[in-house]
C-alpha cells in the first residue's frame, strides 16, 4: 500500500480528464491524475502511483530504476500488482 509504483500514461480519459489509462508492468488500468493538475502528465509520461492516484511525475530512467527495484522485492510488489489488477476506477 505504501509502495509507489511507476506507470506509463497511455491515454487521458476524454470525458474525465482527471482519469488516465496507465500501464504498470504490462497491467493496464485506469488511475486518477487529479493530484498532478498543476502540471498534467501526457501520454508517454511516467508517474509514480499510490493507491490509484498519480502522486509525482518521474523520468523514464527513474521509472526503470524503481521497476527493477520493485521486481527485486518480490512478494510485496506482486501483491500490489494483483490488487491493481482487481482495481476498476471509473
Amino acid at each position: 500500500m505504501c509502495l509507489g509504483i511507476p506507470g506509463e500514461i497511455i491515454e487521458i480519459n476524454r470525458d474525465q480528464p482527471d482519469l488516465a489509462k496507465v500501464s504498470v508492468s504490462g497491467v493496464k488500468r485506469t488511475i486518477n491524475i487529479g493530484l498532478l493538475e498543476d502540471d498534467p502528465p501526457l501520454p508517454g509520461d511516467w508517474i509514480l502511483i499510490h493507491v490509484g492516484f498519480a502522486l509525482s511525475k518521474i523520468d523514464e530512467s527513474e521509472a526503470q530504476a524503481v521497476l527493477d527495484f520493485l521486481e527485486g522485492i518480490g512478494q510485496s510488489y506482486e501483491d500490489e500488482l494483483a490488487a491493481l489488477r482487481d482495481s476498476s476506477i471509473e
Binding site: C2, L48, V51, V66, G72, I89
Partner: protein, 378 residues
C-alpha cells in the same frame, strides 16, 4: 537460497560505505532512525547494515501506517462492519491487523462483509453498484495516502453519492517524529526522512528537527544506494557540525511538496486534537478527521462507535519497536508466538513493519547483528 541479495551497483555501495566509514570519529557511536517502513524493508532486504561500519546503528521508526493502528480502531471498524447493510472496504494490509476479538478475516468468517480494495476510488464504484448498501472505506495511511482519501470524498460529494463514507484513520508523520525526539529513552544522531510522504508535504515541515533539536534529516529514496547516500549526507553534516534538512530524493520529492494534494487534504480534513497510536499512546494533533462540511461522508458521525481503548496484548512490545528502543528480535515473542502467519503485534503484519521485514530477510544477516548487540550489551 541467497541470503542478502546483491543489488545492482553493489560496487558503488561499497565505495559509499568506504566514504561513510572514513567520516566516523573513532570511538563515537552513531544512531540514525529511518522513519519510514519502506526504508526498513530495503535495509533488511539488502542487508544494508552489512555495508555500514559497526559504530553506525540504524533504528527503525514509526512510519508503517498499518503498524500504528491501535486495537480499538480495529474493533471500531468491525463494529461498523456489523451494522445492517454495511459493506466495508480497506487496503489488503489492513485485513490481518489484530483487534481485540480478531482481525477483518475473522470478522468476515462471522458474517461481516469487509473487502480489500486497491484504491479508495474502487470503493466509490462499489457504492454506485450497490445503492442499497452503505459502503464505508476504512482509511489508513500517512500523508502519502491521505490526499487519495480526500480526493475520493470530493469525488463522492461531486457525484452526490449518499451511500459512501470514510472511517478516517489517517495519521501525520511530524508529531510522531516529535514524540520520538521528546522521548527520553532514545538518543538519535539524525533521521533518514520518508520519501513518499515528502512528495506530499515537501521538506519544510522537518525544519523544526534541525532548528529546535539540532539534528540533521535527509529525505531519502528507497533504493539501497539512496539509503547509503543519505547516511553519507548525514555523516557529512555531523562532521561539519551542521544540522539541516536535505533532500537526497530530488528525482521525486519537490522541496515544497504537492500543493494540490495539500489543498485537497485541508479542504476535506482537519487535525484531531489527539489520536492513539499503537504502542506509542496518545499523541496530540497526530491524525486527521473529516471536517464538518463533509459530515455526511464521515463514518464516525454516521455510526456511533464504541471507541473503547484496548490495551495491547501483554506479550507485545511493538511500542518499543516502533520507537526504535528495541530491535525486533529482542521482543520476547518474536519468531515464536509472533510470526507473519500468526501476528500478535502489528509490526509483524505489514511487509513494511520492522518485525516482518526482519523476520523475512533480516535473520539471514544475523551474525553481524548479533555481534552488534553483544557489543551493546557488553
Amino acid at each position: 537460497m541467497r541470503f542478502v541479495d546483491e543489488f545492482r551497483d553493489a560496487d558503488k555501495a561499497r565505495a559509499l560505505s568506504a566514504k561513510i566509514t572514513s567520516l566516523c570519529e573513532p570511538g563515537r557511536r552513531y544512531k540514525f532512525m529511518e522513519v519510514c517502513g519502506g526504508h526498513t524493508h530495503t535495509i533488511y532486504k539488502h542487508g544494508l547494515e552489512d555495508y555500514l561500519p559497526e559504530n553506525i546503528q540504524l533504528v527503525h521508526g514509526p512510519g508503517c501506517p498499518v503498524c500504528v493502528i491501535p486495537m480499538g480502531r480495529v474493533d471500531d471498524s468491525i463494529h461498523i462492519a456489523r451494522q445492517p447493510d454495511v459493506l466495508m472496504t480497506s487496503f489488503g494490509d489492513m485485513m490481518r491487523v489484530p483487534g481485540s476479538g480478531g482481525n477483518f478475516f475473522d470478522s468476515n468468517a462471522e458474517g461481516t462483509n469487509i473487502r480489500m480494495v486497491y484504491s479508495p476510488l474502487d470503493s466509490l464504484k462499489i457504492a454506485r453498484q450497490n445503492p442499497d448498501l452503505r459502503v464505508v472505506f476504512m482509511a489508513i495511511g500517512f500523508e502519502t495516502t491521505t490526499p487519495s482519501t480526500a480526493m475520493t470524498v470530493l469525488r463522492a460529494a461531486q457525484e452526490g453519492l449518499t451511500n459512501f463514507s470514510v472511517f478516517c484513520n489517517h495519521v501525520t508523520i511530524i508529531p510522531a517524529i516529535k514524540a520520538i525526539l521528546d522521548s527520553p529513552d532514545l538518543r538519535l544522531d539524525g533521521f533518514i526522512g520518508p520519501g513518499h510522504v515528502s512528495t506530499v508535504i515537501g521538506c519544510r515541515p522537518y525544519e523544526f528537527i534541525s532548528r529546535d533539536y539540532g539534528k540533521p534529516l535527509v529525505v531519502a529514496g528507497f533504493e539501497p544506494l539512496d539509503i547509503l547516500q543519505s547516511i553519507y549526507m548525514l555523516m557529512l553534516q555531523l562532521t561539519q557540525n551542521r544540522s539541516e534538512v536535505e533532500n537526497q530524493y530530488t528525482r521525486v520529492v519537490p522541496w515544497n511538496g504537492n500543493a494540490v494534494a495539500l489543498h485537497a487534504m485541508s479542504e476535506v480534513m482537519e487535525l484531531r486534537p489527539y489520536f492513539e497510536w499503537r504502542g506509542l499512546g496518545f499523541i496530540t494533533h497526530s491524525a486527521m478527521r473529516i471536517r464538518e462540511k463533509y459530515a455526511s461522508y464521515d463514518a464516525e458521525r454516521i455510526f456511533s462507535l464504541p471507541g473503547v481503548r484496548v490495551a495491547d496484548p501483554k506479550a507485545c512490545q511493538c511500542g518499543e519497536v516502533l520507537k526504535g528502543v528495541l530491535k525486533p528480535w529482542e521482543c520476547k515473542v518474536f519468531g515464536t508466538a509472533c510470526t507473519p502467519e500468526t501476528p500478535i503485534g502489528t509490526c509483524m503484519v505489514s511487509p513494511e513493519g520492522a518485525c516482518a521485514a526482519y523476520y523475512n530477510f533480516g535473520r539471514f544477516s544475523r551474525s553481524r547483528v548479533r555481534e552488534a548487540s553483544l557489543h551493546e550489551h557488553a
